[in-house]
């Protein structure tokens, strides 16, 4: 896919994943990569930003004798997800209007 995903959209995708269930870092990248081609080093800055905005919180669980950090959506995060979804809907509508060419009539 040639179209680049903006940071806001990527934020939304991560928040939407976490709305389903809690994830750990690697699993989030895997899930996103199933749909859009992001590089392996893209996710850390995203998670850091979302955490700083208090849209997600972290907790640690032990797994095979080591630590695994899970990310959980906060109330503020759920709200933000709603904002991004709305933004995306109107954006999508506008792009469709331009791209599909039914705006000439």
């Amino acid at each position: 896919m040639k179209i680049q995903v903006s940071t806001e959209l990527l934020d939304g995708c991560v928040l939407a994943l976490l709305a389903e269930k809690d994830y750990y870092g690697y699993a989030i990248t895997q899930r996103i990569q199933q749909t859009i081609p992001i590089s392996e080093s893209t996710l850390y800055p995203v998670l850091r930003r979302l955490h700083k905005e208090s849209w997600l919180e972290t907790y640690d669980e032990s797994f095979k004798g080591r630590n695994r950090r899970y990310y959980r959506l906060t109330k503020a995060g759920t709200k933000q997800l709603g904002v991004i979804r709305n933004d995306w809907e109107s954006y999508k509508h506008n792009i469709d209007w331009l791209l599909k060419g039914d705006n000439h009539g």
């Binding site: 680049q4 995903v5 903006s6 940071t7 990527l10 750990y24 870092g25 690697y26 699993a27 990248t29 859009i36 081609p37 992001i38 590089s39 392996e40 080093s41 893209t42 850390y44 800055p45 998670l47 850091r48 930003r49 080591r66 630590n67 695994r68 950090r69």
Partner: protein, 204 residues
């Protein structure tokens, strides 16, 4: 062993970060490498890129956001550091070669001018300092044989000493302002480049 080597190298590249931030990055990628079941350095590099590259991406993200949040931090060291980080980020990001060349030339000229200013100020300060020391010594040595000449030279020496202090203070201020201007300009340019690439997320 390979995984430890990679993470150790990454850690060494992350020294500009605070200890807890650095630990956070290292923890994240330690876990990531474990979960991705990567063992050799080759496997890790194929996924995450070289430690240097990964560190640059991380640092660029930190530096830009940090300066967006606190634009009032303006120590000379901070500014020089910021210019350096942004340069690294520009080098690590995929932009057109002519643009990269123009930017490189621009910065080479800027750094050259800055160094010239430094050298000029240093020479002036040193010269004034040397004059003051020698005048005072000369004045003191003839003070008893010729009181008036002695006093005159000591006076010249003290005036030169004052000039030394003034020049060095003024020079420090000028360099600080130059560095500040450089950092602001660099930040501005970097933001233009980022807007130019439409804030896209670096994909493969």
């Amino acid at each position: 062993m390979d995984k430890e080597t990679y993470l150790e190298q990454l850690k060494q590249q992350l020294t500009p970060l605070k200890a807890d931030e650095c630990a956070d990055v290292i923890d994240f990628y330690t876990e990531y490498i474990e979960d991705a079941e990567l063992t050799t350095t080759e496997e890790i590099t194929a996924k995450l890129g070289s430690p240097k590259r990964l560190a640059r991406k991380t640092l660029a993200d930190y530096s830009i956001r940090a300066t967006e949040e606190e634009p009032t931090v303006t120590t000379p060291k901070h500014n020089a550091h910021l210019i350096w980080l942004i340069l690294l980020a520009v080098m690590a990001s995929p932009i057109a070669i002519p643009l990269a060349l123009a930017i490189a030339l621009f910065f080479a000229l800027g750094i050259l001018m800055f160094l010239l200013c430094c050298v000029l100020l240093l020479v002036l300060t040193l010269a004034a300092g040397v004059v003051s020391v020698f005048s005072i010594i000369a004045g003191a040595s003839v003070l008893f044989s010729s009181f008036v000449t002695g006093i005159f030279y000591i006076g010249v020496g003290l005036a030169a000493l004052g000039a030394t202090i003034l020049i060095s203070l003024l020079g420090y201020l000028i360099l600080k302002v130059l560095l500040q201007a450089g950092a602001t300009l660099t930040k501005f340019l970097y933001q233009k480049i980022r807007q130019h690439s439409q804030r896209k997320v670096a994909a493969k």
